[in-house]
């Protein structure tokens, strides 16, 4: 990585003879992205304890464990010597602090190795100088420098002070370990906060306690963008246990992430505040969004599909002409719903506004923008907004938006006391930034040998104020672009009043379903094996544009596809009993190559039993923490299956119908199949794991259902009525 040349390391002595390493690191993985300085902080104390600051929020992706592992490996200390501290929010000092996009590994792997290796080199140099021997004769192990010939050794702690006075090595020239000698990287290291989690200690945002705080709920308009006309706050204030109740006005001109109109109720206990909502009467001005509904969107999309797309994302060859000449044509309409994030910890935030300044305790994936948003909404300088990051009970992209921070801050300012705002489940489900719904009208053409000659898609998506809605885009490089001679991707846009945003594997979580299902339809139409048909389209190994500038390597994809066929015994799938079948799909996202096979059994009543899932992924040369990696990949695959089987948001009259886990159904343990995870280790820089295993599992399931029942699933969540015999 040439980027490491720009890594800048500072070394200093800290109180009591500790060695401090501070590195400013290049954050950009792409040439066109702004260079965002990241910073690593490592402290080696005289007692040999190594403290590593974890600067990003922890959402369950294991970041608080994984990045320190990389430093500790090259520093050559034992994992038991390492302590991890959560850094406060200070982006001026640390660079961007966020969790999302499976970015942590590609951004940090190489630079952090160099920081660790530089520290080790300085400690060796210090030891060699003290003993008067050549540094090359010294070796290290578990935080100790050894000189075997003279049988001497010194712990890092004893050398920290000497090392802090040495010149800083050139990070670009530093010698890194041979990965075959890794002792920490590649070992299953467990979550550092697990002992606290299993004993129920305070960790999460919702567990925050600030002296003198009161508990708050905030009732917003069920219709997106609605405003309060009036509310019976005086009646509410008189209820027993209620501390205060008032109308909060939305922040003028603010976007949907910011403050919206609502009524705050404050009480000594959250339950008392929440109960008072039963007595709350609010007159709303519901606004324009009341004309919107899921049904209306579907009808509008179908009518738009009758015409030409409003714009073209891509046109290769002559798709229309080739479809006319094709021996076989398949036309199909696919759709997917709005999806909520359903973080198990409901959105919450604790805020204490006093003397013009505010301090927040926030389970946010994206604290920097939250700080800015609070400052802008309250009209105070950013430097007067302090954000403490807590552990997060599920992110999935929801907590990249910081509406809950602004609400808590505004309520605390108005109430004049510290406030813990906690949303109830209905608030959380009805005031999300949803994965946008979408509609695809596809045609595909095959020649008489079953070769794909043409493909067209009319994508009907959503826009807001002249731009595409957040997470509602499709790239012109979407598979099978550049692999079919005649291809057209067109797009039309409907205006949307519903807030949208990224959900784990944004865009990919929907587009994989559409394209990998439709490809399957074409394979069956042409009488081809779905694995072989896909391999034929991928063709000879080559790198196509896409993948955020890193390219899409068809050879890597073919390799994971072949491997998943092998481990799932794909070739013998015909021997399965009636209504039991396998389906396959692959997808490339977040730099990761994943191919997956699902085996399902569909009963005569249409019930879907998940029998087994095989996942094969290629995320490069190194799985840093195999324990966390397996957990993430299994979780991602099951997450996708849960969404396909039971999740979707219905909009009616501008509001969300669903409110809890009875109608948006999370996957439960009795539905869970064995999920077998394999990694192909390839000679590419390591990339992230939190997201790319999710997208292909949904079409793999739908393709298995087709193979088991002959019924093609073209809408989500899967309607089991369609599968009855």
């Amino acid at each position: 990585m040439t980027a490491s040349r720009r890594t800048f390391l500072k070394v200093s002595a800290a109180a009591g003879g500790a060695l401090m390493l501070r590195a400013t690191l290049p954050g950009a993985v792409r040439a066109e992205a702004p260079a965002e300085p990241l910073t690593a902080f490592v402290r080696i104390a005289p007692d040999g304890v190594v403290t590593i600051l974890s600067k990003n929020p922890e959402i369950g992706q294991g970041i608080r464990t994984m990045l320190p592992m990389v430093i500790a490996e090259e520093l050559d200390v034992a994992w038991s010597q390492v302590r991890i501290e959560q850094a406060p929010l200070d982006e001026a000092k640390f660079g961007r602090q966020f969790a999302g996009g499976s970015q942590a590994t590609p951004m940090n792997y190489d630079p952090l190795r160099r920081v660790g290796a530089a520290g080790r080199q300085m400690l060796v140099t210090a030891a060699a100088a003290r003993w008067g021997v050549p540094a090359a004769e010294c070796r290290t192990e578990a935080g100790v420098v050894f000189h075997d010939r003279t049988a001497r050794n010194l712990g890092y702690g004893a050398l920290a002070s000497d090392a802090s006075k040495l010149p800083v090595p050139d990070l670009a020239r530093i010698v890194l370990k041979d990965p075959r000698t890794f002792k920490i990287i590649g070992q299953p290291i467990h979550g550092v906060e697990n002992p606290k989690i299993v004993t129920g200690q305070k960790l999460f945002g919702i567990d925050t306690v600030v002296p003198g705080m009161v508990h708050a709920v905030f009732q917003k308009c069920p219709v997106f963008g609605g405003k309060v006309v009036s509310a019976n706050v005086d009646t509410i204030k008189k209820l027993s246990g209620i501390h205060d109740a008032f109308i909060v006005r939305g922040h003028q001109g603010a976007d949907r992430q910011s403050l919206t109109d609502g009524v705050a109720i404050l009480a000594k206990s959250w339950w008392v505040a929440n109960r008072a909502r039963d007595k709350l009467e609010i007159v709303w001005d519901e606004g324009a969004a009341t004309s919107q509904s899921s049904k209306g969107f579907a009808e509008k999309a179908a009518s738009l599909a009758q015409g030409s797309p409003a714009s073209w994302l891509r046109r290769d060859g002559d798709a229309q002409g080739a479809l006319k000449d094709a021996a076989h044509v398949v036309a199909a309409a696919y759709s997917y719903p709005f999806l909520p994030h359903i973080d198990l910890e409901p959105q919450n935030c604790t805020a204490h506004f006093q003397n013009g300044k505010v301090e927040l305790w926030a389970p946010t994936q994206n604290p920097g923008p939250g700080q800015k948003l609070v400052a802008a909404t309250l009209g105070i300088p950013e430097s007067d907004v302090t954000v403490n990051m807590t552990r997060i009970g599920g992110g999935f992209g929801r907590r990249l938006r910081n509406d809950f921070m602004v609400e808590a801050a505004a309520i605390s300012r108005r109430a004049g006391v510290p406030v813990k705002l906690v949303w109830n489940r209905a608030d959380d489900m009805r005031h999300d930034f949803y994965r946008p719904a979408g509609f695809h009208f596809l045609k595909g053409g095959l020649d008489d040998k079953g070769v794909l000659t043409a493909l067209s898609d009319h994508f009907v998506t959503f826009g807001q104020g002249g731009k595409l809605a957040d997470a509602a885009q499709m790239e012109a490089t979407e598979f099978p672009a550049a692999l079919v001679p005649n291809l057209a991707f067109g797009q039309s846009v409907m205006e949307l009043g519903v807030p949208t945003g990224p959900l784990r594997a944004p865009r990919s979580n929907a587009l994989a379903f559409v394209f990998q299902s439709f490809i399957d339809e074409l394979a069956h139409k042409g009488g081809r094996d779905p694995v072989e048909f896909r391999l034929a389209i991928l063709g000879e190994p080559k790198v196509l544009p896409g993948g955020n500038g890193r390219g899409f390597d068809t050879g890597r994809m073919s390799a994971v596809l072949r491997k998943v066929a092998e481990v799932s015994d794909w070739a013998n799938r015909d021997s399965l009993p009636a209504r039991t079948a396998k389906g396959v799909a692959f997808y490339f996202s977040h730099f990761g190559y994943f191919a997956e096979v699902v085996q399902t059994t569909v009963s005569a009543q249409g019930e879907i039993k998940l029998d087994h899932v095989w996942v094969v992924g290629d995320v490069g040369s190194q799985i840093i923490n195999p324990s966390g990696a397996e957990n993430q990949v299994q979780g991602a695959a099951l997450d996708g299956l849960g969404a396909a089987l039971g999740q979707g948001i219905t909009i009616e009259r501008g509001r969300v119908v669903e409110a809890n886990f009875d109608t948006v159904r999370p996957l439960r343990i009795d539905q869970v199949p064995a999920v077998e995870v394999h990694f192909l280790i390839t000679d590419h820089p390591p990339t992230g794991l939190g997201e790319p295993a999710l997208p292909p599992v949904i079409p793999a399931l739908c393709n298995a259902i087709f193979a088991a029942t002959g019924k093609r699933i073209r809408g989500l969540p899967i309607d089991t009525e369609l599968l009855k015999v």
Binding site: N194, I206, W271, L344, Q632, Q634, G635
Partner: protein, 155 residues
């Protein structure tokens, strides 16, 4: 009104409405934050506690209904031989992802193993299906229960 209840072996008195759910008594009145709020409707199990050893949803259990029953929470599991075995299995298999559901999972699993020391997959499904893990760490939850029961794989 005053209610005196026994929690993890200690008597505690609170002055609250009788219909306040045990979950909120624990979290807001007694500052025992281990039991979690997820849905408030008996649908996720994040709030699972024990009444006389039986798993119940704290969000659906009014304080007035507790009476003389012994309440156990995740904070008391380290002192409970079965609970402790499960906590150790959870650690040995690195079960948590975000971790939010795990207190409730361990409480349901503890009640299961007390009743059925050697559960099969069907027993585990039946006892644990009320506990949602949004991160879908189910594979390891199942393995950890078997490990604690001595009927499953070692780490």
């Amino acid at each position: 009104m005053n209610y005196t209840i026994k929690i993890n072996g200690v008597s505690r008195t609170v002055d609250v409405d009788g219909d306040m759910p045990l979950l909120w008594v624990l979290r807001d009145e007694l500052d025992l934050k281990g039991s979690k709020f997820g849905c408030g409707a008996g649908l996720c199990g994040a709030c699972t506690v024990h009444l006389d050893g039986v798993a119940v949803r704290g969000c659906q259990t009014p304080i007035s209904s507790v009476g003389t029953a012994s309440v156990s929470t995740i904070e008391g599991m380290t002192a409970d031989p079965v609970g402790r075995r499960l906590q150790e299995a959870w650690l040995a298999l690195d079960v948590p992802q975000c971790g939010y559901c795990q207190a409730g999972q361990i409480m349901s699993a503890t009640a299961l193993l007390r009743r059925t020391p050697r559960p099969n997959d069907g027993d585990i499904d039946a006892a644990m299906t009320g506990n949602v893990c949004r991160c879908c760490s189910y594979t390891r939850i199942r393995a950890a229960i078997k490990m604690a029961a001595g009927s499953g794989e070692k780490s």
